[in-house]
């Protein structure tokens, strides 16, 4: 037991940055032995790992063959990282793997789960191999554990980072795509708003609309909020401000598609809607806008 408190391991526990150091301090021949053991028993240990994965029902989004292929690569990168003590290749592989499996709906807990399973499977095999020599087992584990933990860390962080990158990218895309200002007729714009409006997006909407009014010389704007599920005080007030700012540019705003829930909210929180011109649906809004602009839509006589 005293051996388990040996300096390298103790310091490694206190400071995660020292993991590398701890690994380096482990006698290289132990590590070589460890790697050789893992290489020798590759087929058997990989099978055992796969069995544990399917037992715990992880990675259900992937087929057996895919899991086998990925597991083989993960196993080899894992052993390589143990051997060389460098994590760049593993990190790159983790990122690449995440890129491929995130769109398939693989969850964070699954990725971390399988790496931890591999760690456990390998540790068990070490126990089995060195059960006769407790001292040696301890020293092998001293070499193995910090590196194994660091590998698990690397893979998990890589996965989460990739996920965050995807989320950021999507947010950016939504922000760019979600606020089209469209001209339907000479001097008539529509602004269909879909999704959640937060203060930042509300501000961006207003800026785009005001710029759109100026460039298209619009006189009437229809803001359709059919696709907006909920609205709070801040956003409601912002909408009122947008209407007022548009009027300062000489454009009339018609708001359409207020859902019963939003109508309820606006009345309950007492937003001043006196200045807002509202129509039930988008069609009605466009019809009223056309009246304001002096358009008259007449059906052509008898279709051929």
């Amino acid at each position: 037991m005293a051996k388990r408190e040996s300096p390298p391991r103790g310091s490694a526990l206190k400071d995660p940055d020292n993991l590398e150091l701890a690994r380096n301090e482990a006698p290289p021949e132990l590590l070589r032995e460890l790697v050789a053991h893992l290489r020798q028993n590759r087929t058997h240990l990989r099978e055992e790992w796969l069995r544990r994965i399917s037992e715990t029902r992880l990675l259900t989004a992937m087929t057996k063959e895919e899991i086998f292929a990925e597991a083989t690569s993960v196993y080899d990168s894992y052993v390589e990282a143990l051997e060389t003590g460098t994590f760049e290749a593993l990190q790159a592989y983790a990122r690449n793997l995440s890129e491929r499996i995130i769109p398939r709906g693989v969850e964070t807990h699954e990725v971390i789960g399988i790496v931890l399973l591999l760690r456990d499977v390998l540790a068990r095999s070490l126990f089995a191999k060195h059960q006769a020599d407790f001292e040696k087992l301890n020293r092998i584990l001293d070499a193995y554990e910090p590196a194994a933990n660091r590998i698990a860390n690397t893979v998990a962080v890589g996965f989460v980072q990739e996920r965050e990158r995807v989320i950021r990218q999507q947010q950016e895309a939504i922000r760019e795509l979600s606020t089209p200002v469209l001209q339907v007729r000479e001097r008539l714009l529509i602004l269909p708003i879909i999704g959640v409006i937060d203060p930042q997006r509300a501000r961006q909407l207003t800026e785009q609309l005001l710029r759109g009014i100026r460039t298209n010389r619009a006189k009437v704007v229809v803001i359709d909020i059919t696709g907006v599920a909920a609205m709070d005080v801040t956003v409601a007030n912002h909408l009122v401000q947008t209407v007022e700012a548009s009027r300062l540019l000489g454009a009339t705003v018609i708001v359409t598609g207020l859902s019963p829930e939003i109508a309820q909210t606006l009345v309950t929180i007492g937003v001043d809607l006196g200045k807002m011109n509202t129509v039930g649906d988008l069609q009605g809004g466009i019809e009223q806008a056309e009246r304001l602009l002096g358009y008259k839509v007449v059906p052509s006589t008898e279709p051929h």
Partner: protein
């Protein structure tokens, strides 16, 4: 800096060319209110395209001009408010309530011509 006021048919057009001091604004108010009756104008257009800042004093003075001119028997249209200025104004609660606005001078003239059904 004095704001030039042009007589264009039945309308008076005041074009603000640069940032105005409070005194300039008061001078503009006085000049417009005097001339609108002297020239028997039916409407006044104030073009603020060149203003990239509109503080509460300027906004209040514009509104006062519009209300005073109504009492003198004519219409007022404020034209050329920039998008950024408009947004800043509403955030400060300066909405020029009860005052007609238009995108630019051309739109303002259109609006008035529609209203009076006359042709220049």
């Amino acid at each position: 800096m004095e704001v030039p006021i042009l007589k264009q048919g039945e309308f008076l057009i005041a074009t603000i060319q640069a940032a105005l001091s409070d005194a300039d604004l008061e001078q503009l108010r006085l000049a417009l209110v005097q001339r609108v009756v002297r020239f028997r104008s039916r409407a006044v257009i104030v073009d603020v395209t060149a203003m990239d800042v509109m503080d509460s004093f300027a906004s209040r003075t514009l509104r006062e001009i519009a209300l005073m001119i109504r009492l003198r028997g004519a219409e007022t249209v404020i034209v050329g408010i920039q998008p950024e200025v408009a947004f800043a104004m509403v955030q400060l609660g300066l909405t020029l309530e009860g005052v007609a606005t238009a995108l630019d001078l051309e739109e303002g003239l259109d609006y008035l011509n529609q209203k009076f059904k006359t042709i220049n």
